[in-house]
């Protein structure tokens, strides 16, 4: 047994994660000690401070490439780029959490989550102008966990991060103010399926440990290179780990929870899940596959290749049949996860970490921003029951609120990948990397899937613009400052990353470094 002296920790390198987690811990204390009338404002400020502070820290730390905390956490270009992306998208989601102008009861979150739905106390509180402010520290914990998830170079740390990000999400999924039963159902579903996924991951971890005697990604790679990668323990372990991660990223065929949870959860939480969780999960996938299993490429490549196809096709085709905006966006995210896997395939071998990595990073950023924007628009369209998410309610929206419809159209065209939007730049980058790598059949399928997916994005445009407004249609809420900021930032990003993406592409190119 080697000595147990504490490992050296680069606190500067870990600063982004630590800042968010510190904000989360402080938030818990505030919840305990601050008077109720102050809590909301303080919590919002603290959560924003945490995420924006993390973003600033990422910028300051940028340029480092090292492993810290006994090789458990990576501080390299990829980790920092993803941490920055998660912090930025997280800050936007927190802004959506903080919106008070849209719901008549001042918040999208329930006043008291513990009350049974429909009880007299619950009814009494239905219009109460306060809500559970615990959502802010919970979201901060989740965001901190996501950042760690994308940076962990050690399977155990990865698992801990997975739980840190998942548990708060299970909770806040069930805290919607409207349609509480649906919200709670989504939380239970997410929890049950998520636990299974965690169990898969943990079991895979155990098998890999049994194979290599280590949970360190670098050492796993070396032992795989040493003893070949056809060992049953190794292959099973690898498969189980991948399943766990694919579940978190919402990739078909492990996507079954996505539509239900996205639909039931409060929309700000859905935005957080759709954008940040996906980025974090892909960060973990990239690191696991390229650092941990970089030398056993041919063991996982066929698997990822076929899953990419399944995810694109399932997302695109099932998306067509949806009648609810949030479910439609959920299937859209499943399809996009498939496109992202096309980028993962394109990396080639770990030694020549090239375009696949940078293009995947870029795609994650563009996808996240556009998706948050799309969900922000969903929060605006409301009727007496809260958000009007059924597609038929969106008919003729353009004549009721031209600006809202125009912004939504921009996001939809971006998601569909039309030129001059960020979605096209991202797709182009990923597809180019894949063709470069010889995966052109995959790209052809991806292009066809994009065409199919374009149909359901277009259908919403058709409804908004070409249909006469419904008689008892929804009203379009006037967003307060937070949602306005979210919409402005995401819409601007969707346009700018389509028209002049160069600076960010360069950034992604420089960031495409994996250590370990």
């Amino acid at each position: 047994m080697p000595d147990l002296s504490a490992p050296s920790i680069s606190y500067v390198g870990l600063a982004p994660v630590l800042i968010v987690l510190a904000a989360a811990c402080l938030g818990v204390l505030i919840e305990a000690f601050a008077p109720r009338h102050l809590r909301w404002n303080v919590q919002v400020a603290l959560a924003l401070l945490g995420t924006v502070g993390a973003l600033v820290a990422v910028v300051l730390v940028a340029g480092r490439n090292e492993l810290t905390a006994a090789r458990a956490v990576a501080v390299d270009g990829t980790a920092l780029f993803l941490e920055g992306t998660i912090a930025a998208l997280g800050a936007l989601s927190i802004l959506m959490f903080a919106e008070r102008a849209l719901d008549p009861a001042k918040s999208a979150f329930v006043a008291s989550a513990a009350l049974p739905v429909g009880s007299s106390a619950d009814r009494k509180l239905a219009a109460a102008p306060y809500s559970q402010t615990e959502v802010f520290p919970l979201a901060s914990f989740a965001i901190g966990g996501m950042m760690l998830f994308a940076a962990s170079n050690n399977l155990l740390v990865m698992f801990v991060a997975l739980e840190v990000l998942s548990l708060p999400l299970y909770l806040i999924c069930g805290m919607a103010r409207r349609r509480r039963l649906l919200s709670q159902e989504s939380a239970v579903k997410y929890f049950l399926l998520g636990s299974f996924a965690s169990a898969f991951f943990l079991y895979g971890l155990a098998l890999i440990y049994g194979f290599s005697g280590s949970v360190d990604l670098g050492e796993i790679r070396e032992s795989a290179a040493r003893s070949g990668s056809s060992d049953a323990l190794f292959v099973t372990g690898l498969a189980l780990l991948i399943v766990g991660l694919l579940f978190k990223a919402g990739i078909a065929p492990f996507h079954a929870w996505t539509p239900d949870v996205y639909q039931g959860a409060p929309t700000p939480v859905t935005a957080l899940m759709a954008a940040c969780t996906k980025v974090a999960a892909f960060g973990a996938i990239l690191r696991l596959l390229y650092v941990g299993f970089g030398t056993s490429e041919w063991t996982w490549r066929p698997l990822i290749y076929s899953i990419a196809i399944v995810s694109m096709v399932v997302g695109a085709i099932l998306g067509i049949t949806q009648t609810d905006v949030k479910r439609m966006l959920a299937y859209s995210s499943i399809a996009h996860a498939g496109f992202l896997l096309v980028g993962v395939i394109a990396l080639g071998d770990a030694a020549t970490a090239g375009r696949g990595l940078s293009s995947t990073l870029f795609y994650l950023l563009t996808y996240g921003l556009t998706t948050v924007g799309g969900f922000a628009v969903v929060t605006l369209v409301r009727d007496g029951d809260g958000e009007a998410t059924h597609l038929s309610k969106w008919a003729g929206l353009a004549s009721r609120s031209p600006l809202t419809a125009a912004v939504m159209t921009l996001f939809l065209l971006g998601l569909a990948g039309l030129p001059l939007t960020s979605g096209f730049t991202g797709k182009f980058a990923v597809f180019r990397a894949a063709i470069d790598d010889g995966a052109w059949p995959l790209v052809v399928i991806a292009l066809l899937a994009s065409a199919i997916a374009a149909f359901f994005y277009l259908r919403l445009v058709v409804l908004m613009y070409f249909s006469p407004p419904a008689e008892d249609g929804p009203t379009v809420g006037v967003p307060g400052l937070p949602t306005t900021i979210v919409l402005a930032v995401t819409a601007a990003a969707t346009l700018i990353l389509g028209l002049a993406p160069n600076a960010v592409l360069d950034l992604a190119e420089q960031a495409a470094v994996l250590v370990g």
Binding site: G396, F424, F466
Partner: protein
């Protein structure tokens, strides 16, 4: 004067004006249409200046401009025109003011029980944006940039059809968009493929047309890449069997949109054959040419037969276009300068004659409120001017000698007779069918007893005469004296045919009009 960045101005001006219109209050209809018309006329004048400044014997691409855009992808914002692109831009410059004249009241009745959802302001804004993007498509000399415009121009047309079209406009708009998008995405695969090939060949990936033209690609790979481009252009053009979206889109689009759709937007497909398919993939082009010619001739006959069976006037005109696009494809893939020149001239002439035909049909529909041929009869005795215009446009569409289309059709047939006599003869049958469907429509609507609905028709008003007369005049002028256009087109087609290695590509062509 040739130092002016013509192409950039031509694109930026309508684009800025299009977005600028959104700042004008929605109910200032007069102001909105005056601004739009003014801008489009300035574009026309600039396009004419540019044509005058163009030197047919000069370098292949002129008015060249190139700016760095996305260096990470090797993409440049590179513009330039050869003779082919130049005449198409001239056609756009001509048709847009005409379309504005024809759409003078489009959207004025928005929301008053018409079911149409767009306002006049959005109509003209989309129209100007469409003009900018169309000019961009023809002016781009970077394939990535071309692709961007190729896809982006779907958006304005989609909104023009979907917000201002006929009863089945939603269906038609989505069908139009999806067909084109599928084609575009298949092309995207080839575009990226070309980039990767260029990266392997010259060490650095590029999308520049001139650089890509010079690399040699493995023939098998060429075939795959060719197919990507070809499918996109065949859907766009459209060739049979990729044509089924056009009758719907053409019939449901507002008249102004239909003129630009069939007159210009679809020409991007045939333009793409000439600009991209032939020079970039010469071996594959030669390998596939016989099959494509079969499709072209099929299109000529099939389009004509279906046109004859139509009862809806707009659908009829749309089907005639399918036949005409068959002629253009025949000219392109016959690989002789004569046929190629005829095809390019055909692209211009078809824009003029079919544009005029659509406009006149639109006038009839605006008077009779019906698209069905059977609802009209005896129109010529009520509105002789309208009937006369109809006859002239129809005769041009069936390529009567003395009208513009005759010159181009003759060149195509002549040029393709040498290498492919059978196809040429079969195509000639299409001319006879064309005479049938045009004259039958004319006879049914214009002659015979006056239908009760027709009795109250008013003849052409001043505005209608104003926007129709340039087209009618050009039908005659270009029928008698096409030389100026041929002089511009021929060198560019020569260069293209040299790229594809066609025999006799240096032979003199373009004398057809002087006979």
């Amino acid at each position: 004067m040739s130092d002016l960045p013509f192409l950039l101005i031509l694109m930026v001006l309508p684009l800025v004006a299009g977005f600028g219109l959104l700042a004008v209050p929605e109910d200032r209809h007069d102001l909105i249409r005056r601004i739009t018309l003014g801008v489009s006329l300035v574009v026309l004048v600039l396009a004419v200046f540019m044509t005058v400044a163009f030197e047919p014997s000069g370098p292949r691409f002129q008015f060249v401009q190139s700016y760095s855009w996305i260096p990470d992808f090797g993409v440049r914002f590179a513009l330039g025109v050869d003779g082919i692109a130049l005449v198409m831009i001239l056609l756009i410059g001509l048709l847009v003011p005409v379309v504005i004249g024809a759409s003078w009241n489009e959207g004025a009745d928005a929301g008053r029980g018409t079911g149409k959802t767009g306002s006049m302001r959005t109509f003209f804004a989309w129209l100007l944006i469409l003009e900018a993007l169309l000019i961009g498509v023809f002016a781009a000399t970077d394939i990535f940039l071309f692709y961007v415009f190729f896809e982006a121009m779907l958006v304005p047309m989609y909104f023009l059809i979907g917000s201002f079209g006929g009863p089945r406009r939603q269906y038609a708009a989505v069908k139009f968009f999806l067909y084109s998008l599928v084609g575009g995405l298949v092309m995207l695969a080839s575009v990226i493929g070309l980039y990767v090939v260029s990266a392997n060949e010259i060490g650095q990936g590029t999308f520049a047309f001139d650089a890509l033209r010079q690399i040699s690609i493995d023939p098998d790979l060429q075939k795959l890449l060719f197919l990507g481009f070809f499918i996109a252009f065949a859907i766009k053009a459209p060739l049979v069997p990729f044509h089924t979206w056009l009758p719907d889109a053409g019939a449901e689009a507002p008249i102004g949109g239909a003129v630009l759709l069939v007159g210009v937007l679809d020409k991007v497909g045939t333009f793409g054959f000439l600009r991209y398919c032939l020079p970039l993939f010469p071996d594959a082009s030669r390998a596939f040419a016989p099959a494509i010619l079969v499709l072209a001739v099929l299109g000529i006959l099939y389009g004509a037969l279906l046109a004859m069976g139509q009862t809806d006037m707009k659908r009829l005109v749309a089907y005639t276009s399918i036949a005409h696009f068959g002629f253009i494809a025949l000219g392109v893939f016959a690989f002789t300068t004569q046929a190629g020149t005829g095809a390019v001239l055909y692209m211009v002439n078809h824009g003029i004659s079919t544009g005029a035909l659509f406009l006149i049909v639109g006038m009839l529909i605006s008077r009779g409120k019906s698209r069905t041929i059977g609802d009209y009869g005896g129109v010529s005795s009520v509105t002789p001017l309208l009937a006369g215009a109809f006859l002239l446009a129809g005769l041009s569409s069936l390529a009567l000698p003395g009208t513009n289309s005759f010159v181009s059709e003759f060149l195509v047939l002549l040029g393709s007779f040498g290498p492919y006599p059978v196809f040429s003869i079969l195509a000639t049958v299409g001319i006879i069918l064309a005479a049938l469907y045009i004259l039958l429509m004319y006879q049914r609507t214009m002659h015979g007893p006056i239908k009760p609905a027709v009795g109250g028709f008013k003849d052409l008003n001043k505005r209608e005469m104003a926007y129709l007369s340039p087209l009618l005049a050009l039908i005659i002028v270009l029928g008698v004296y096409p030389k100026p256009l041929l002089d511009i087109i021929t060198p560019a087609v020569n260069a293209t045919m040299a790229d594809v290695g066609a025999e006799g590509s240096t032979a003199q062509a373009g004398n057809g009009g002087d006979d």
